[in-house]
């Protein structure tokens, strides 16, 4: 697809998460979107035999390659028996959403599936089903990744990354890596380019200019590239995640380390620009006992007075054999978040954070809801239809029905009476006639032509409703309502945030104070941020009473 030759593309492996190619390409991660919250991750292969089988049909990779993203793709009926064996069953039952509870039968989820065959067994896989071909995002990966552990989902990781102030070029420490959900989201957040891209660009330049080695070039200030340092002590998980990171083209951004962080902390032997790593400015701990890891997240060795001998801090300090190293950025403020489901964990973490001099400690629980929207259809016309409420829609409709029922009952008695009196024919006819007249009145009264239907049997009414429904635009009818989705996560974890400001010594202060001496001057008052400068700027500051006081 790409022209050969001296190209950066050959030297730098990019990530489909960050640089999705314009079209589906071989060896790159793609997702097949089956329905809401249901995606199948596949690595496309340029191989005639490669087929992905889903509940909605089979999709040979050859038919997917080179398609633009977002394309709706029809299944191709390859070989039903092969589908049967396939492990990649798309339509798992476990995550059935409210889709199915409004039970509108014939209107099946149409994002995928079309004529979705019933067969979980694979034999009846419809050949006319379809899926959407999508590029991967951390959001879709999070819900489709092979789960090894509990994972952090989009609402939580979005909030955490926001609060941790994670930006392109930042360095984040993450432990434990678990299934790598948070890993992918933070890789996107820190991404500021591929380190080899700069190096290769330089090399390329040198090759072109006939210069060997990079020294001849003027020394430029190096950019710092965003990095994720991920730690996990469960070896198989480390392996799986490393493979994924590689396959997803993120190996230049994510470093996965196999380690028990309680014991051995977060420093690693890698050096970037002669600086020991990670030099992190953001930390996310999704561990059972985050307080045990905190002692490794300081800028100077914690003193024993900081770590008081209270019951909750088994604190093995002094590792005098090794010189102290910090995994933290020496200059940037460091933001941390610990993610714990239980309040006891929070208490211990917060206590330890306080002892270690973290400030702005805050604990927050994120309440997240997804909302279902539907149309609530009420009325007699709904009898026999799915998704509607067949109660009368109004007092008038109720009255109408009551009247009809009453007439019907009367008609019945009249017929009974006639029968009993033996003058079946004549009188019965007369009775029926009277009833007809009444009915007309009822119809006039309510203006509801359907009134007459209560004279029909229930079965007949339902059938009549169903056939009428064909003409109705039920997607526009009824009242538009919303409510919380049926499966609600009411608690994921407590999020504890804190900040460790840069250390500031007296020497630092002296140095800067020399730079910015406080001169004797006429007391120029610097009001609020926006006062000088353009007119009409920020009313918002002007509103704040000076020294805003109230409590």
């Amino acid at each position: 697809m790409y022209p050969r030759g001296h190209s950066l593309k050959d030297l730098v492996r990019t990530s489909p998460f960050l640089n999705p190619p314009p079209k589906a390409t071989p060896d790159s991660l793609a997702l097949l979107g089956l329905r809401r919250d249901h995606f199948i991750p596949i690595t496309l292969q340029d191989d005639g035999a490669a087929v992905t089988n889903t509940r909605f049909g089979s999709f040979p990779h050859q038919a997917l390659l080179d398609l633009p993203w977002g394309t709706q793709v029809r299944a191709i009926n390859v070989n039903a028996s092969r589908s049967k064996k396939s492990k990649k069953q798309g339509g798992g039952k476990k995550r059935k959403r409210a889709d199915d509870d409004d039970g509108d039968g014939n209107l099946r989820e149409d994002d995928a599936g079309g004529e979705d065959g019933e067969g979980e067994d694979g034999h009846e896989l419809a050949s006319s089903g379809f899926v959407h071909l999508l590029p991967p995002t951390p959001e879709t990966w999070t819900i489709s990744l092979p789960h090894r552990t509990q994972v952090v989902y989009t609402p939580d990781y979005s909030y955490v990354l926001q609060r941790l102030r994670v930006r392109p070029g930042d360095t984040i420490i993450e432990a434990g890596a678990g299934s790598g959900s948070f890993t992918h989201a933070s890789a996107r957040a820190v991404f500021s380019g591929y380190p080899s891209q700069q190096a290769s660009a330089k090399e390329l330049e040198n090759v072109e200019n006939g210069i060997a080695g990079g020294d001849a070039l003027p020394k430029k200030k190096k950019r710092k590239f965003g990095k994720v340092y991920s730690f996990e002590f469960h070896e198989p998980r480390v392996q799986v995640l490393r493979d994924e990171v590689k396959e997803h083209g993120l190996e230049e951004i994510v470093t996965v380390t196999h380690r028990d962080v309680y014991e051995d902390g977060f420093c690693i032997d890698e050096e970037v620009d002669g600086q020991p790593q990670p030099r992190a400015n953001a930390i996310f701990l999704d561990l059972p006992a985050p307080w045990l890891a905190l002692k490794h997240l300081t800028r100077s060795p914690p003193t024993s007075s900081q770590i008081r001998s209270s019951a909750n801090s088994p604190m093995p300090v002094t590792e005098s054999d090794k010189p102290f190293r910090t995994p933290l950025s020496p200059t940037k403020p460091v933001h941390i978040c610990t993610f714990s489901p239980c309040i006891e964990q929070v208490t211990r973490t917060v206590s330890m954070l306080r002892q270690l001099g973290w400030i702005e400690i805050e604990m927050v629980e994120l309440l997240h809801k997804r909302i279902d929207v539907k149309r609530e259809r009420v009325g007699l016309q709904e009898e026999g239809l799915r998704g509607g409420n067949p109660m009368p829609k109004s007092v008038d409709e109720a009255l109408g029905r009551l009247r009809e029922q009453e007439l019907r009952t009367r008609g019945f008695y009249e017929r009974q009476k006639a029968k009993a009196e033996g003058k079946e024919d004549d009188d019965a006819d007369a009775g029926a006639e009277a009833m007809e007249k009444e009915l007309v009145k009822v119809e006039d009264g309510t203006g509801d032509a359907e009134g007459i239907e209560s004279l029909l049997s229930k079965q007949q009414r339902m059938e009549s409703n169903q056939s009428k429904a064909q003409e109705r635009k039920i997607w526009k009818e009824g009242k538009l309502v919303h409510r919380t989705e049926s499966e609600l996560k009411t608690h994921t974890s407590y999020l504890t945030f804190a900040t460790l400001p840069r250390e500031w010594t007296e020497e630092d202060e002296k140095r800067v104070a020399r730079k910015w001496p406080v001169k004797k001057q006429g007391g120029v008052e610097n009001g609020d941020g926006g006062k000088r400068g353009r007119k009409g700027r920020g009313k918002e500051e002007a509103k704040l009473p000076e020294g805003g006081e109230d409590d």
Partner: protein, 579 residues
Amino acid sequence: MHSRVLLNTHVVLRLPSGQFKIVEVIPNTAIPLGKYGSFSTNLILGRPYHLTYEILDKEDGQTHSKLRLVPASELNAEALASEDAAAQGEEKTESAANAKGGVEFDIVGENGELLMRSNRLTIDDPLRQTLTQDEIEELKRAGTGSGKDIIAKIMASHQALDEKTSFSLAKYTVRKSKKYLKRFTVLPMDPGMLAKVMMEREAVRIMELREEMLGLIASWANVHHYSDPGEEMETKRGGRWLIIDDTGGLLTAAMAERMGILYPQEEEVEESDEEDLEESNATNGTNHQAPSPKDPPRPTTTDASEKELATTTSNPKKAPYNHTPSQSSPTTTLTLLHPSAQPSLGLLRHFGFDTNEPSPTHPLHTHLKTLSWLSLLSPSTDPAYAEPPLVTAEKLATWKSGKRGTYHRKRRRWERVKRVVDETREGGFDGLVVATAMELKGVLEHTLPLLRGGAQVAVYSPHVEPLVQLMDLYSRERRAAFMIGGHTSAPSPHANETEKRELEEDFPLNPLALLNTQLQTARGRAWQVLPGRTHPFMTARGGAEGFLFSGTKVQPVEGRVEARGRFAKRRKVEGGGEG
């Protein structure tokens, strides 16, 4: 950027009352904090963020207060003390009271005096506090200390002090110190912070966009930095997001932050070049560099005094001649569609960017593109899009320099408008972010065709109703009806006006163009964490909850949905428009 307080940047001060104050750090000026006193900006310049200071009382003959850096240990002392107390079992009585449902709020009066304690174990009445409010005021005026003295005196004069458990003592102190301690904390200005500050002041101006939503929007719009090592990188566009922002620029700032185009590049000046940093910051507070390596080298910095002058007066900054044209970056860009003649992005000035006088060295100068709805939908009627007559070089040479300048400026402006309008109409955007009070159907009708397949859409609204309506346009029933109901078969060339109108009414938007539409809300709930007394805070801000609609742009199966009347019309806009 956030390591230290740089010259002429906006910072946020958190005051003892918990209120925030935005301040621009102009050297050699005083920042007044009302009754807390005032201090010189030079005392915070060059220092790290997140530090808390105490304003010391002026010594005789001094014009300025000094600041004392409050160490973290002192900031955490109260909480730690109460943890200790808890650990020592002193909490027995307290927690017993709590367990029985004892209320534990102090009622503090208007002026900070303690009116009533609900703690059942302490009999309390205001009379026990022998120091009157007048006396307290007196003490403050006398300036015998920085608040701490006062607290100590009040505590000492409190007869019932002995009855207090350490817990209530700690709590009492907290209450008092809030009132009397002259402390403030210097916090960096960033979109999350700005959202917090604005929520307290002018929530409506930012459409009540909470910090919680910023992260969620960025995720669902898949907003991130873009860097393409492809060969054609000089010209190839990539990482482009379309944005509609009625929050005064907060949303734009938040997305720009995620893309790495909100702040000047600073990573290279980390610890290695400490002294360099001093220099470059001192002379160069508002000098910004775009982050992408393909951007041209940073323009040579102007001389310190000149720079200071330029940024401290409201004179328009003269752009250096050799700078890259504004709004010209091919990658990692935000394209803002605005409803008025000018974009309304006033809040960006907190990040050193003014859309009226954009600093040519700010990353947003090249990475933020703006155009009005008129330019997008009907460029031919937009005067800004019309080419100003070209003048020959010979003729130009005869003009006065002022006239020549105007001519060049007009040409440059037109080139910019044309470039932005043309590339926007070409489409291919990677995502769409919306926060607007405008009708969403119209907004999406004109923007969805500009997205590439697989692009993400995120629409924020303070209220749920507009998004409920939007969800309904993509309901399963509507999608099914669209497909089954004959609308999806081959286009009917015979469709008359009535039929078209009906189609428009039934399907205001192509219900198949967005996949995975969902509606959600998220809200943080803050807790107090103290041993035995951990619970959610009792009050929080009400107001709009804030909701997010999201979806993925897709391309329905060929030949089924495509060329129905109105969609053909929309495609025209996409392809080059009616203009």
